[in-house]
């Protein structure tokens, strides 16, 4: 199998900007602001390297602030690494935020079209799949209402249905799946497992360790921007629990 993703010694630095000072303070302390050291840095990732094969499902676990979301954003390409290299050889479908790109005043249907095109389909292709998307989301009776009237569970259903119907090759998922109710969680997990069986590469960052153990073939434990452990889901999750428990 080919590599879907190759990450080599990736570092990511965020400047820790203090809140912007008022104009008066700015003038009074001008020399201090000119000095570049005034803004200190935070290293969100410190030399992370790993590979993901096509069709693999990789889980990423770690505490809040360990660098999971930063890593996913880097893979997606909405932010750039400070150092290191990221090679992606498949089309990425992100599910990083509940209904990212949904506009509250547009209807469910209108949002499906825009989101589908944003995620890589043409408009005609979205229209062909409209019925499937609506059916999977199970919110048919609300589909022509503005999404500002939706509950967060309905948001998730819609967002997830669009994403899995856009022929994903490499699916990036950040937490969000835990929003839905029991039945939709099971349904989305089954759909995900189905996609993985079909050969869709998946990277899943989550605090839901049970779900990680269920669907992933391999797990990476991120700790303060570094890989602390990597390997079999059972083992890594157990180790993680022992150390953070």
């Amino acid at each position: 199998m080919n590599d879907a993703l190759e990450i080599e010694d990736v570092w990511k630095k965020f400047p820790m900007r203090r809140d912007r000072p008022g104009f008066k303070e700015f003038l009074l302390n001008l020399p201090k602001f000119v000095n570049r050291n005034y803004n200190s840095n935070f290293w969100a990732l410190k030399g992370v390297s790993f590979k993901v094969k096509q069709g693999e499902c990789l889980g990423i676990i770690g505490k809040n602030g360990a660098g999971k979301s930063t890593l996913l954003s880097l893979i997606l390409g909405t932010i750039y690494p400070t150092k290191g290299e990221i090679k992606v050889s498949q089309k990425i479908t992100p599910l990083l935020e509940l209904g990212a790109g949904f506009h509250p005043d547009l209807t469910g249907r209108e949002n499906i079209i825009i989101n589908g095109v944003l995620l890589g389909l043409t408009k005609d292709e979205v229209m062909e799949r409209m019925e499937d998307i609506v059916a999977f989301s199970e919110i048919k009776e609300f589909i022509d209402m503005p999404v500002r009237t939706y509950s967060s569970g309905m948001y998730l259903r819609l967002a997830f249905s669009v994403a899995i119907n856009t022929d994903p090759e490499l699916l990036l998922i950040d937490e969000i799946l835990s929003v839905g109710d029991e039945s939709f969680q099971k349904k989305s997990k089954d759909a995900l497992i189905g996609l993985i069986k079909e050969g869709v590469t998946t990277i899943l960052a989550s605090h839901n360790l049970a779900a990680i153990k269920d669907v992933c073939n391999r797990v990476i434990w991120l700790d303060k921007g570094e890989i602390r452990a990597e390997g079999e889901p059972e083992k890594v999750v157990e180790e993680y629990l022992r150390c953070s428990g």
């Binding site: 997606l76 390409g77 992100p94 990212a100 079209i113 095109v117 944003l118």
Partner: protein, 256 residues
């Protein structure tokens, strides 16, 4: 494959533009009819103003003013809106990967609707003045729309990005736009400016653009010289805009 990607980009730009337009009138009763009604009512206001209160000794002054104002409005509305384009779409920019400049381009295209809906008013005035509209319009209007789109895109790309880093930009732009309004021959003809100052107007890319719009609307004349200069300066602005947008775009996520 290449063809499909092209169609997808086209769909995306169209959908984003349509989204802007729908959202603008979403909760109004008259909806997009406002785009048609607005210029009409505005023209009526001007006729009242110039015929009764402020009698300007220039033939057809209302037409003179509107023939420049409607194209100007497309520019100024786009520039003003563009300050909020990137900072208003944070989740889209951070969580989905797509050509970000489409957000800016769709803002400009959505504002174009107002100019197009204002054309019937212009045509009406032109008809009553007896000089047009003519076949020349069909050639010139698309050419000028493209030229204005290019220069507006250059400026808006730069502004939308700079405003993400430096939010004061929004307020500066408000002032600069009104300065630019008076520095462009909109309410007055270019020739009333003393020659020593004309050079400053010429540095303004909108001077030729507005002149060319007025020539076609009022005299049914294709001002090739102005159009040529427009394209020259438009392309410079576009290149600068793209440069700024790409350079600063690398760290956009840190500031929005």
């Amino acid at each position: 494959m290449f063809d499909r990607e092209f169609r997808r980009k086209k769909d995306l730009l169209w959908l984003l533009t349509r989204k802007e337009i729908t959202l603008k009138y979403k909760r109004t009763v008259l909806g997009i009819l406002w785009s048609l009604l607005n210029p009409l009512l505005f023209a009526i206001v001007l006729v009242i103003a110039f015929k009764i209160f402020m009698r300007i000794k220039m033939e057809n002054y209302t037409f003179f003013f509107l023939s420049a104002l409607f194209p100007w409005n497309w520019f100024s509305a786009s520039v003003t809106m563009s300050t909020g384009t990137l900072i208003g779409n944070v989740s889209l920019i951070k969580k989905i990967r797509f050509p970000r400049h489409f957000l800016v381009l769709s803002t400009i295209l959505a504002q174009l609707v107002n100019l197009i809906f204002a054309l019937p008013i212009i045509i009406g005035f032109s008809y009553f003045s007896g000089k047009g509209p003519g076949v020349n319009w069909l050639i010139t209007i698309p050419i000028l729309i493209v030229a204005q789109f290019i220069v507006t895109a250059g400026i808006c790309l730069a502004i939308s990005m700079v405003n993400a880093y430096f939010r004061d930009m929004e307020y500066i732009i408000g002032i600069v736009i009104s300065l630019l309004f008076w520095m462009t021959p909109i309410v007055y003809p270019l020739k009333i400016i003393p020659e020593t100052y004309q050079i400053y107007l010429v540095l303004n890319p909108l001077t030729y653009l507005i002149t060319a719009w007025r020539e076609i609307f009022m005299s049914n004349y294709i001002d090739w010289r102005s159009i040529g200069i427009c394209y020259g300066s438009s392309l410079v602005f576009l290149l600068l805009g793209i440069l700024v947008f790409q350079r600063l775009g690398k760290r956009l996520d840190e500031v929005i």
